[in-house]
């Protein structure tokens, strides 16, 4: 990827932009599905209970924080691997 010239980088950036909305949609759908699967297990009523609602809210919160942390670590590891060290410091 380092070998892309200015024109190629511009074209690639346009492609990435077109992908972003799609990636956001997938992220959103995964989030809904995960929190629904984990929090909604009572079908004696058609309305979401307050207990379920709390669970969903925390699930969204925690999932976003999880994704953020994983993204940071992933970027670090990826960076390290690209530089050929293959090792990160000291957890």
């Amino acid at each position: 990827m380092e070998a892309l010239n200015a024109n190629e980088q511009r074209e690639f950036a346009a492609i990435m932009e077109r992908r972003q909305m799609k990636d956001f949609m997938t992220m959103y759908s995964n989030l809904v599905q995960r929190c629904f699967d984990d929090c909604i297990n009572d079908f004696t009523s058609k309305a979401v209970s307050s207990k379920e609602e709390t669970c969903v809210s925390r699930c969204v919160d925690k999932s976003l924080k999880t994704s953020e942390r994983l993204g940071q670590r992933f970027a670090e590891q990826n960076q390290a691997m690209m530089q050929g060290t293959g090792q990160m410091g000291g957890i």
Binding site: M21, K22, D23, F24, M25, T26, M27, Y28, S29, N30, L31, V32, Q33, R34, C35, F36, D37, C39, I40, N41, F43, S45, K46, A47, V48, E52, E53, V56, S57, V60, D61, S63, L64, S67, E68, L70, G71, Q72, F74, A75
Partner: protein, 99 residues
């Protein structure tokens, strides 16, 4: 899907409008597939003692769909609130949550 709070921008071209309609269709199809998956797991026991849906299963499916939509709306609202309070896009370079 309008409840996600997208849309806006002025005077799209034909190609853009068709692409948007296609994307909306894809997202609705994807949402239905996920809902199908989840509600079948939650409501239909995998032993198949009969080929028909019984009363309990049918009611469970109906409620499951209603709850899936309600959760969808709640998650959408929560994310819009977070985005508003942050004043920008949530999430980072990597946005997948896996399934």
């Amino acid at each position: 899907m309008s409840f996600l709070g997208f849309g806006g921008a002025a005077q799209p071209t034909s190609a853009q409008k068709i692409a948007a309609a296609e994307q909306e269709l894809e997202m609705i199809t994807d949402m239905f597939n996920r809902l199908s998956n989840s509600c079948t797991k939650k409501c239909i026991p995998p032993d198949y003692k009969e080929g028909d849906l019984n009363k309990g299963e049918s009611v469970c499916l109906d409620r499951c769909v209603a709850k899936f939509f309600e959760v969808n709306v709640k998650v959408s609202e929560q994310m819009q609130n977070m985005q508003a309070s942050r004043g920008g896009a949530a999430g980072g370079a990597f946005g997948g949550f896996g399934q």
